[in-house]
């Protein structure tokens, strides 16, 4: 938890998430009692530096998307605060609903579903220009051309409807829309998992180019370790709503400290790899309605001890040998 | 499962209360002065005031409601002035006749509707499908009161196969065959529209289900087509058809208003029409309340049946 604060001191920090929690359900019921609650994200602290690509990996249901929605303001944290460029997000949103959208944008997982089927691409791309910038008509027209050029689409696509596009093209439009208002940070939520492998590489290369051209910062969410490894500077591995391991991509993937990261790495299939690590069938996520008291990974962990079952390891329980590499584990694979 | 049913029953209580409030408010909203309506225009102001006091109409609305509800709990729905008997007695007597008619129609529409729907789906675009589809469209386009008149004209007047009206023969009737004899035409008429609706929905539901991945799995297992359709697909289709049958119960009970008038069936529908015409509002109130309560309970039943079929809803 100290990690967040430590990072804030650096002047190049763009976004700081401290101790954020998001609970779904749990509202009061008509006849007393409460509806069951799920902690989608729990005491999560993280900071994003200007110009970097921060990867967030984890399996389905671990809270990646929830985190992404919190950052772009599509959802509000139950507790904790998110500070962008020195300003609290909640305050920012209160001051002007659109001020956050000018700085932070989002690219969706399902490119086609994120485009309104009844609007032309022009209408879709013009919306952020109209509402988030004060460009006049000519200025908007000029910007539209620039945007299409940036994402490698022909200008005649402007008058077409979303259903006429393939997944890869639709995702380019989604990226163009995110770029429209000139944001500093873009949250990419599984931007390539709905795409075919050959198109996936096109989009990854495009994203890479745009980042350099426009000096962007990315939060890149994915369940695919190899994709994250190839595009990210730093990585956060999430498990059951919390960060299990955080650090420079090179270190996290090169010398994983958390047993969960290690399991992920050894489960991932790769061309030429014949034997995968496999656990028992009984290895499953804990019940979200009835979370364990100690480490959430304990049931699947072969390094666990009594301490793991009783108390939650702190996010920086295990500081790694390299600076900024931490793991929430009592018995990490490598010690500092 | 028991817990689920208990929960649903509990949840029905507020709905029933809501019903009483709506019914009460509708009656309270009636323009004009009920006392004058009852006593006629020659009533003296004193008489009106006295009756208003007797009826509790000098109190505030919430007070009136509480008193009314208290009476309701004791089975007192007031007295019908046009019939000069307790509303509850009249309503219950009439309601049982409606129940026989509507119940029969509901059974008919479920059976024929489901069958027609399945055949139509399985023979999609075949002649059976086309004929059923056309019949269904005709069924839901025919005004039931007109159909009733036509049936009377043909089967009662011309062919003399069935009686034109009533529930029992006036002389020597009263047994079950007599009832069935009288019931046939009105029940058939009443079920036509609902059958159409159920058939249409069953067809769509079956077609939707037959495209699902688990139907492919059933075929990949080597199941005979008969089992694929009548076991795997039909069960899933039922999940969406059962609530529709629940809603049809409402349409059938409502439709009974026409059919009872046409066939002079001594049910609650014809009673309501008369009561409205004579502005016997307490009778209207009682009738509406009982029918609505029965409908709520029936929908509850449909809900429970649906949950029995679909474990995901539990």
């Amino acid at each position: 938890m100290n990690d967040g604060r430590e990072k804030t001191s650096g002047e190049d920090t763009l976004l700081t998430i401290s101790d954020v929690e998001r609970i779904f359900g749990g509202e009061r019921r008509l006849f007393g009692g409460r509806a069951p609650a799920v902690h989608a994200v729990q005491s999560l602290s993280l900071s994003v530096r200007k110009g970097e690509t921060l990867g967030v990996v984890g399996e389905s249901g671990c809270g990646k998307s929830t985190l992404a929605r919190l950052v772009v303001g599509l959802d509000d944290p139950t507790s904790g605060e998110i500070v962008f460029d020195g300003e609290n997000l909640t305050d920012l949103a209160r001051k002007d609903g659109n001020s956050l959208a000018r700085k932070v944008q989002y690219v969706f997982q399902d490119p086609v579903a994120s485009l309104n089927p009844r609007k032309t691409i022009r209408t879709i791309l013009e919306a952020p220009l109209k509402h988030l910038t004060d460009l006049d008509k000519d200025g908007r027209e000029k910007r539209l051309t620039e945007l299409l050029q940036a994402v490698n689409l022909a200008p005649e696509f402007l008058e077409r409807y979303p259903h006429e596009f393939s997944g890869g093209q639709a995702q380019r439009i989604g990226i163009a829309r995110a770029l429209a208002a000139g944001p500093e940070l873009i949250v990419l939520d599984e931007p390539v998992s709905a795409l075919d492998v050959s198109v996936q590489a096109q989009v990854l290369n495009l994203l890479d180019g745009l980042k350099k051209t426009f000096g962007l910062t990315y939060i890149f969410i994915s369940h695919d370790l190899s994709v994250v490894e190839s595009v990210c500077d730093r990585v956060a591995v999430m498990y059951f709503g919390r960060i299990a391991e955080l650090g420079p991509a090179r270190n996290v993937f090169g010398t994983p400290m958390h047993p969960y990261t290690d399991l992920l790495m050894r489960s991932a299939p790769a061309p030429g790899r014949h034997v995968l690590m496999a656990e028992d069938a009984s290895a499953e996520l804990p019940d979200p309605y009835n979370p364990p008291a100690g480490c959430a990974f304990a049931a699947r962990c072969n390094r666990k001890t009594g301490a793991c079952l009783d108390n939650l390891p702190a996010p920086d329980q295990a500081p790694g040998p390299d600076s900024g590499h931490i793991a929430a584990c009592y018995h990490p694979l490598i010690e500092a | 499962m028991g817990a689920y049913i208990a929960k649903r029953l509990l949840a029905a209580i507020p709905v029933l209360f809501g019903l009483t409030i709506i019914v009460f408010l509708i009656m309270a909203m009636i323009p004009g002065d009920p006392a004058t309506a009852i006593l006629g225009s020659y009533a003296t102001p004193e008489n009106v005031a006295k009756l208003n006091r007797d009826l509790g109409l000098d109190k505030s609305l919430p007070e009136q409601y509480v008193i009314w509800l208290g009476n309701l709990f004791q089975g007192d729905l007031g007295r019908s002035y046009s019939l000069n008997r307790p509303v509850l007695d009249e309503v219950l007597e009439r309601f049982s006749a409606t129940l026989i008619l509507a119940g029969t129609a509901l059974v008919l529409c479920s059976v024929f509707g489901l069958l027609a729907g399945i055949v139509s789906a399985v023979r999609q675009y075949g002649w059976a499908d086309k004929i059923i589809t056309l019949l269904v469209l005709m069924g839901i386009s025919t005004p039931s009161f007109f159909l009733g008149l036509l049936l009377i004209l043909v089967f009662a007047v011309k062919l003399r196969l069935f009686p034109a009206s009533g529930m029992y023969a006036i002389y020597g009737g009263g047994d079950l065959p007599d009832l069935i004899h009288h019931l046939t035409l009105p029940a058939l008429t009443l079920s036509v529209v609902a059958t159409g609706v159920v058939a249409r929905l069953t067809r769509t539901a079956m077609l939707e289900v037959l495209r699902q991945d688990y139907i492919r799995t059933a075929r990949a297992k080597g199941l005979p087509e008969r089992e694929v359709i009548y076991k795997h697909a039909f069960k899933s289709a039922l999940v969406s058809v059962v609530p529709v049958i629940g809603i049809q119960a409402g349409f059938v009970i409502g439709g009974a208003v026409y059919i009872e008038t046409v066939f002079q069936w001594p049910g609650i529908g014809s009673m309501l029409v008369k009561a409205i015409a004579t502005r016997d509002l307490l009778l209207v109130q009682g009738g509406v309340l009982v029918v609505a309560a029965a409908y709520v309970l029936f929908n509850l039943l449909a809900d429970v049946v649906q949950t029995l079929i679909d474990p995901r809803l539990r």
Partner: protein
């Protein structure tokens, strides 16, 4: 309903020249008939004041109850001697006006409530929907009666009553749609584009809801006309001397036995009017409802239709193969367009071997697998050529009965998404036992035992307890284990697994892959394993066949292909995927996209994207050429070819 195919066909006319909604409607015979009748009736009703009609309200006791076709009274007269034709047309005018106004009132108020409730959610939604539920707790007509009781009989009051009781119907429908839409990503995207809630509701959501409102209106107008007529029939609607069709019928009823034509004339008119509206409404629904429109509500038959030239059935390639697919061609016919989804695939699977089919989405992997046992949905699919031999037996020539015995018996399938492939309403045990019972005549107890054995075989803990669980109560990995258990129920010799791990998380994927690998070695079963992931292939497959645009472009031993791909597509496909542990690798994207299979180019289908392409590549048929043992390449200028190979 009958006309789904027709409208479906219309849509396929092509994206560029999409036919308008109206011309689609005209394609539908019944709907067109409805439209014509409706227009005729409307014109008649509108023209009533200028038509040379007798005054509908003038009584002429001398002319009472004239029959139909009397001189001067085409449809006769009623009990007061009024002209029925004139009354009919004026009455239709009233009925139409009332029905349409009631629909519009109900649609406007109901849709507003539904839109607001669905979009606002939370408390607003709860309050609105509880109110709606309360109103819906009354049987429909009863509520209308109660309202008329309050307002007093009269046509206008009947109109209000009918409109009012229909508001909940619209509200519910529209709320459901709105709720679904407002969870869609494009709504979030609009919010992030800076749009206000009102803008989102009316500019983003409403256009998507509008078709549903129109559908609901077109299916309720007829109903509303019936209902107002009903109230009038009971004497609670139109009051004399005003008449609508319902009140005419009500008056005629009293003299039904003596002069039936007085009631039959308005009754038939109501029927014709409502029928026309319903026919049209059905047509409108077919066109506007995207599900019906795509023709997707067609029922697939039990087995894929085989339409191959009997004179051109390829012979099996060898005896040692347990499964032998030869020149398989599977097509889709949608409207006038034929998609050659599988264009001549050869596959051979030996005992105990695992063959991987790799390719991008749309390359025809699944169709190849489904074709083998006739599981491609017909319509629109069909097997257009080739053969599949299971131990020498031609599967496409086998009887339906025989195929049923083989399905789940000798050849078993495991599909991609274990949640949708298991029946949600039957327990795991029930589905497993069914798989066993279909092929083995065992006693109940023995079947159950066998089911438990199968569950332990796929390493499910507490197999006995799991028998009574439903699929939704299991995790994704467990469900897939159940599917595998089901596939193993009858000692299948060939297992066809269609992306069995794609829907799973990596850790679960490795569990399932390890399980399948172990099982195939234990049981010496052959597996046809479909995936798009070369990593997964490495973990389980002995050999690979790479598919592109419906054909196999390269085949060979897994390690050979990964080490030295010869087809440019294979090479590119391997290079464009990041590999764990090699973050510095530059991703080499493949430009462009795969060709659409209804219009394949001549020559090599990959030519447009191929860096090696030459003019020769774009002409003629390119064969799969053998290049060493187990190796074949469909390319004129293959790569990585060592001279000695």
């Amino acid at each position: 309903m009958t006309n789904t195919a027709i409208s479906g066909k219309g849509r396929q006319a092509g994206k560029s020249a999409r036919p308008g909604t109206f011309s689609l409607l005209l394609n539908n015979t019944l709907a067109t008939a409805g439209l014509i009748i409706l227009i005729a009736v409307c014109l008649l009703a509108l023209a009533a004041p200028v038509l040379p009609l007798l005054n509908p309200d003038v009584t002429a006791p001398a002319n009472r109850l004239l029959p139909v076709f009397s001189t001067g009274h085409l449809l006769g007269t009623d009990h007061l001697g009024r002209d029925l034709l004139s009354r009919l047309i004026w009455g239709t005018r009233v009925s139409l006006a009332v029905g349409v106004s009631a629909t519009i009132i109900a649609a406007v108020f109901g849709s507003m409530l539904g839109l607001v409730a669905g979009y606002a959610g939370g408390r607003t939604d709860t309050v609105i929907m509880r109110g709606i539920d309360m109103v819906m707790a009354f049987p429909y007509i009863l509520l209308a009666l109660a309202i008329v009781a309050v307002l007093g009989p009269g046509l206008l009051n009947a109109l209000y009553a009918i409109a009012l009781v229909n508001i909940p119907f619209f509200a519910r429908n529209i709320r459901g749609i709105t709720l679904g839409l407002s969870r869609r990503e494009f709504v979030d995207a609009a919010r992030l584009s800076g749009k206000s809630p009102a803008q989102i509701l009316f500019v983003e959501i409403l256009p998507n809801v509008l078709p549903v409102i129109v559908i609901t209106m077109s299916t309720t107008v007829g109903w509303m006309i019936l209902e107002t007529a009903g109230l009038s029939f009971l004497g609670l609607g139109a009051q004399p001397p005003q008449a609508d069709l319902g009140s005419m019928l009500g008056e005629g009823r009293k003299i039904l036995f003596t002069a039936p034509h007085v009631s039959i004339v308005p009754g038939v008119m109501i029927f014709v009017l409502v029928m026309a509206i319903n026919l049209l409404g059905d047509g409108v629904r077919d066109i506007l409802d995207p599900r019906l429109r795509a023709g997707s509500l067609t029922r697939p038959v039990a087995r894929t239709v085989v339409l191959r030239n009997p004179a051109d059935v390829p012979a099996p390639s060898g005896d040692e193969n347990i499964l032998d697919v030869r020149r398989l061609r599977t097509e889709f016919q949608i409207g006038g367009t034929v998609y050659h989804a599988v264009g001549g695939v050869d596959l051979a699977l030996r005992q105990g071997e695992c063959l991987g089919i790799v390719g991008e989405s749309g390359s025809g992997k699944s169709l190849t697998a489904m074709s083998i046992m006739g599981l491609v949905p017909t319509p629109p699919g069909r097997i257009a050529g080739g053969a599949a031999y299971l131990e020498g037996e031609d599967l496409f020539a086998a009887s339906d009965r025989r195929i049923r015995d083989l399905r789940g018996g000798s050849v078993a399938y495991v599909f991609q998404d274990p949640l949708s492939t298991l029946h949600p309403l039957f327990t795991v045990g029930n589905q497993l036992e069914e798989a066993i019972r279909t092929h083995q005549p065992l006693s109940r107890a023995r079947t159950r035992e066998k089911a438990i054995e199968l569950l332990s075989l796929v390493r499910i803990p507490n197999p006995k307890e799991r028998l009574t669980t439903y699929p939704h109560e299991l995790s994704g990995g467990m469900r897939q284990r159940v599917c595998i258990a089901m596939a193993l129920a009858n000692d299948a010799r060939v297992l066809i697994a269609d992306e069995p791990t794609t829907a799973l998380d990596v850790t679960v994927q490795s569990q399932i892959l390890t399980l399948m690998n172990g099982l195939r070695r234990e049981r010496n079963a052959a597996i046809l394993f479909i995936t798009h992931d070369f990593g997964v292939v490495s973990a389980i497959c002995d050999r690979i066949a790479v598919m592109y645009a419906g054909r196999i472009v390269e085949t060979g031993k897994t390690d050979d292909i990964l080490a030295s791909p010869q087809h440019p597509y294979t090479a590119k496909l391997i290079e464009c995927v990041p590999v764990l542990g090699e973050p510095e690798r530059r991703l080499d994207a493949i430009d462009g996209r795969p060709p659409v299979v209804n219009n394949l180019p001549e020559g090599c289908a990959f030519a447009d994207r191929c860096p090696q392409a030459q003019s020769l590549c774009r002409t003629g048929e390119i064969e799969l050429v053998a290049a060493g043992a187990d190796r074949g390449v469909r390319c004129l200028f293959p790569m990585n070819r060592e001279p000695s190979a």
